[in-house]
């Protein structure tokens, strides 16, 4: 599993990506709980969560649901900064953490622009969404996608032009979170509202 934070740039291999259609999201949190059960994620930390944001004034107020997963960036800062090479990017684009190498220094947490990494309170090492590569390698969809009741999420190989995700990304206007950072995130959204990304969720708000 040799890797220096760079993967071959040719398009011959696979490149996994996720597409979240926010027009279909009903904010039910099934993805968060599916993830919790798949990984036994301890309380107080999440790999996947749904941000709820309020926008506009009465009577034109709206509510947005924004499921957050790891973006599995093409240029992952977390992989670059890891001092022990515990953060690894696979050939197919999935970024994961080798639990045996991680020393829990939190450098990756500090560097991640999306805040998707956390320290496992029981183990003291960094963890994050892995797009369920154990399921993907077995030919299944990640847990959150398996659970999504409205089929708002799509996962697949972006390099295969026939795959549903490649078609959906080609046919729709897709957005990513914080494109200006240059990490080239691969969790795409349809109907992403800029305000929804920037605002704090009203539930997290302290009085």
């Amino acid at each position: 599993m040799k890797n220096n934070g760079k993967r071959s740039s040719d398009r011959s291999g696979k490149r996994y990506a996720m597409l979240i259609d926010l027009r279909k999201c009903i904010g039910c949190n099934a993805c968060s709980l599916a993830c919790k059960s798949e990984y036994d994620v301890p309380l107080s930390v999440f790999r996947t969560w749904v941000k709820r944001v309020e926008k506009g004034k009465y009577p034109y107020a709206r509510e947005f649901f924004l499921p957050i997963v790891c973006n599995h960036c093409e240029n992952p800062i977390c992989v670059t900064v890891c001092p022990v090479g515990a953060s690894i990017q696979r050939e197919d684009g999935i970024v994961y953490i080798d639990p045996h190498r991680c020393i829990g220094c939190r450098y990756c947490m500090a560097s991640c622009p999306y805040g998707v990494r956390y320290i496992n309170p029981n183990l003291g090492i960094a963890e994050k969404c892995t797009w369920c590569f154990h399921r993907v390698d077995a030919g299944l969809d990640p847990a959150c996608i398996e659970a999504c009741p409205t089929q708002a999420m799509l996962f697949g190989d972006l390099h295969d032009p026939k795959s549903p995700i490649a078609r959906a990304v080609a046919e729709n206007a897709v957005q990513v979170i914080k494109p200006e950072i240059g990490t080239d995130p691969h969790a795409f959204y349809i109907g992403l509202d800029k305000a929804a990304v920037e605002t704090v969720s009203f539930e997290e708000e302290e009085p």
Binding site: N29, A30, K57, Y58, Q151
Partner: protein
């Protein structure tokens, strides 16, 4: 006889037999209806460590009435994952957070697994663990005494979930007071539908609709159809370009996923619906042919009846501009097929039944009944539905119970059985119910069957540990929306008796070998099995009518009734796939068009204002309790659900709060005619200025420490990580809601209470 028929969908035994043969054929067609692409694969999961496929058991979700198909995955003998059944027609592989929280329900370290008898005073929390034999003796003696004295009418059975065996057993011993919470909660809707269409349960065919008006329903967060309806609404909006317009006092999840949200004053849905009908008549857009062909109503009468409900009057009463009402009405009438759906937001009021009727009338004048893209009767299979309990009976019982709880002794109830029901927490003004239950004079005996020590269970004389839906056998109907009946099988997925468990078991040391099958954890038992055992012990006609060894045998025999039609395989089919389809699609849709609707001129809905809402002072608001899909029954003590939603804040309109000088996060005292509570407020633009909203399902003072937001040490490491201890566990809005029933339909009217906000 005629009265009884109203509640069936006119599917005769003969027709049922005819369709029986399609059981096997019907299942081939299933799954992601309306989705092109390859047929769905079976749901699968792999172990994270060994990468081996996990053992899968297909079953049915029991967390809500929707009846989604589940696949439970076992690692060894431990339940590790729950996913939706990809082949199931209701959820097509999806599952909601509540369903996944079933894992928490089963594996909860705070689940009570042994029968217990009260020791000290009621509610003192002193218990003695007893054996099932002792518990059965207590129940048996009690029931026999009541039967011998002819006092079986003094038994009240409170059923939080539907169970055919319970209904059967208690009907056999002569109890007439059966309270089905599902019927009670939807009573206003059922009775309105029954008056206007002759069917109590209608299912909206939103898939084929182009304009959908939603009056106070919230299918994106729960309800009787939940995922089935939510995914169809999402799909029809995006793929067919349908418009979804929601009228609600607050921006519910459904409103957030709608094309437009119109906030209206609480309890005025009926006026709005009649105003829409008024415009449709004025613009000459009504389906006059349908009205004259399928109803006894005359166009003149109708038009005259609707005359006072003008859009300008509606704008004053409901708070929606007249211009918008006209526009929506014309859209609704022209952009067909169209459908108006409704839920608790419209019907849980003092005028709720009239509201529901008004909305249904809107469907009738456009001919949206019994058509593609309209309201259709729910399919019920005659001779199979055991639970033929009349909703009226439930309603009478519920109201009677309320009166009992408030009256002085002597009370008419001797024995109260609560099955998965928690009236002290969930019922309006639950603390008065609690007071009543605490008094041994008023209520001599209270038995509770539940998984946790709920608020009600704490007051019980006898606590019986119940098996969860993941440890039970059950045959049920799914709430399908495509017009064909689906039978669901619930079969146990935990806990598998492994060889090691057998060796460790006390039975083994006694020389017995446990069978290699599923047994509920601890000594928990299925309520159905408890009833069967009681029937055996009581003997007589009760025992003869329920001669089943256990629920498993009951389910097998019941599904064999299907087998006679479908061949030998129906039980195997159910076991394998978890469900079977009983009717080919599109058979019921349009079926009703050949039938006259029973509505007459005197049934036409009228709007009657709710008097308490007419002169609200500046600090007075109408309290709307609401559910989210994370705080419903069964998830109270789920660590994953409580982590996301642990405390609730009182929603209040930003402008209204500014008038009162309140800031976001302020603590306020909420005073109602029956009590008061302290809540933190959430300033938001998502609520109508005359209403406040508070989430229901939080603020437990029993059930478990996770529900109460307390850290504790247990075999589950997570229970020490309860990080929201300081934020508290919220407040329960039902405590301050007045016990008021609907005026005519006598269903609940729990969204009416006027509260006063006091600054602290």
């Amino acid at each position: 006889m005629k009265e009884k028929k109203i509640y069936k969908t006119g599917l005769s035994r003969r027709r049922f037999m005819k369709w029986g043969v399609t059981v096997t054929a019907g299942t081939a067609f299933s799954g992601r209806i309306g989705h092109s692409g390859p047929p769905p694969q079976r749901t699968a999961a792999v172990s994270r460590t060994s990468l081996k496929k996990l053992q899968a058991v297909t079953t049915t979700c029991g967390m809500c009435p929707a009846g989604c198909g589940l696949v439970a995955f076992l690692n060894g003998n431990r339940l590790v994952r729950l996913y939706g059944n990809n082949l199931h027609p209701v959820n097509a592989g999806g599952i909601c957070a509540k369903g996944i929280a079933g894992i928490n329900l089963v594996n909860d370290p705070e689940r009570i697994l042994y029968p217990m008898k009260r020791n000290g005073k009621r509610g003192s929390g002193e218990w003695t663990t007893i054996t099932w034999d002792e518990a059965m003796m207590i129940l048996q003696e009690r029931l026999r005494l009541l039967m011998n004295e002819g006092r079986t009418s003094e038994i009240l059975v409170d059923m939080g979930t539907e169970d055919p065996l319970l209904t059967q057993f208690f009907s056999l011993i002569g109890t007439s007071r059966l309270l089905n919470r599902y019927f009670w909660n939807h009573f206003n809707e059922f009775s309105a539908a029954n008056v206007l269409t002759g069917y109590s349960k209608l299912t909206p065919d939103v898939t084929n609709a182009r304009t959908i008006l939603n009056f106070g329903a919230n299918p994106m967060a729960g309800g009787e159809f939940f995922i089935g309806l939510a995914r169809r609404l999402v799909q029809t909006r995006l793929e067919n370009g349908a418009k979804l317009i929601t009228f609600d006092v607050r921006l519910s999840k459904t409103a957030a996923c709608s094309d437009a949200w119109y906030p209206l004053k609480a309890g005025t849905d009926g006026f709005l619906a009649l105003a829409l009908a008024h415009v449709i008549f004025k613009q000459n857009l009504a389906d006059k042919e349908f009205i004259s062909r399928y109803t006894k109503l005359s166009i003149n009468d109708l038009s005259q009846h609707l005359n006072p409900y003008s859009p300008s009057a509606a704008s004053l009463i409901c708070g929606i501009p007249a211009k918008d009402i006209e526009k929506i009405a014309i859209d609704f009438a022209k952009n067909r097929p169209s459908i108006a759906i409704f839920g608790g937001g419209a019907s849980d009021h003092a005028n709720g039944r009239e509201n529901a009727k008004s909305i249904l009338l809107l469907n009738i004048i456009l001919g949206n009944i019994g058509t593609k893209g309209g309201m259709n009767p729910a399919p019920i299979i005659e001779g199979f539905q055991e639970n033929n309990l009349h909703p009226d009976e439930t309603s009478r019982t519920a109201e009677w119970l309320w009166n009992q709880a408030s009256s002085n002794p002597p009370s008419g109830i001797d024995t109260y059985f609560s099955f998965f029901s928690n009236p002290v927490f969930d019922d309006c003004d639950g603390s008065s119910t609690g007071q009543w239950m605490k008094s041994e004079e008023k209520l001599p005996f209270l038995a509770v069957i539940d998984t946790h020590m709920t608020e009600t269970a704490r007051l019980a004389d006898l606590f019986l540990p119940a098996a969860t839906f993941l440890e039970s056998w059950k045959l049920s109907f799914a709430n399908t929306l495509d017009g064909y009946a689906v039978v669901n099988l619930t079969q146990p997925a935990v806990s598998l008796i492994s060889s090691s468990r057998t060796l460790r078991s006390p039975e083994y040391s006694e020389g017995k070998w446990l069978e290699h099958e599923f047994k509920p954890l601890g000594e928990a038992r299925e309520p159905g099995n408890v009833c069967l055992e009681l029937a055996r012990r009581l003997g007589g006609p009760t025992g003869r009518h329920l001669p089943f060894k256990n629920t498993r045998e009951y389910v097998q025999k019941k599904s064999r009734q299907l087998k006679t039609l479908a061949g030998e395989k129906s039980y195997q089919l159910l076991k394998d796939k978890g469900f079977c389809v009983l009717e080919p699609p599109a058979s019921i849709q349009g079926k009703m068009t050949g039938r006259l609707l029973p509505v007459t001129t005197k049934d036409l809905p009228r709007y009657s204002p709710i008097s308490a809402h007419q002169s609200l002072k500046k600090e007075e608001f109408i309290l709307t309790p609401f559910y989210s899909n994370l705080s419903a029954y069964g998830t109270s003590n789920s660590k994953w659900c409580r982590e996301i939603r642990h405390a609730n804040r009182l929603w209040i309109n930003t402008t209204a709060a500014l008038h009162l000088g309140l800031k976001n996060g302020d603590k306020v005292k909420v005073v109602s005619p029956v009590g008061s509570l302290t809540a933190r407020i959430l300033l938001t633009g998502r609520i109508q200025p005359q209403s406040v909203a508070l989430e229901h399902g939080l603020g437990h003072h029993a059930v478990g420490r996770t529900a109460m937001g307390k850290k504790f040490k247990s075999k589950d490491m997570d229970t020490l990580l309860v990080w929201w201890e300081k934020q508290g566990n919220g407040v329960n809005p039902m405590q301050i809601i007045d016990k008021k029933a609907e005026k005519t339909g006598s269903g609940p009217a729990d969204k009416d209470t006027v509260i006063r906000i006091e600054k602290i």
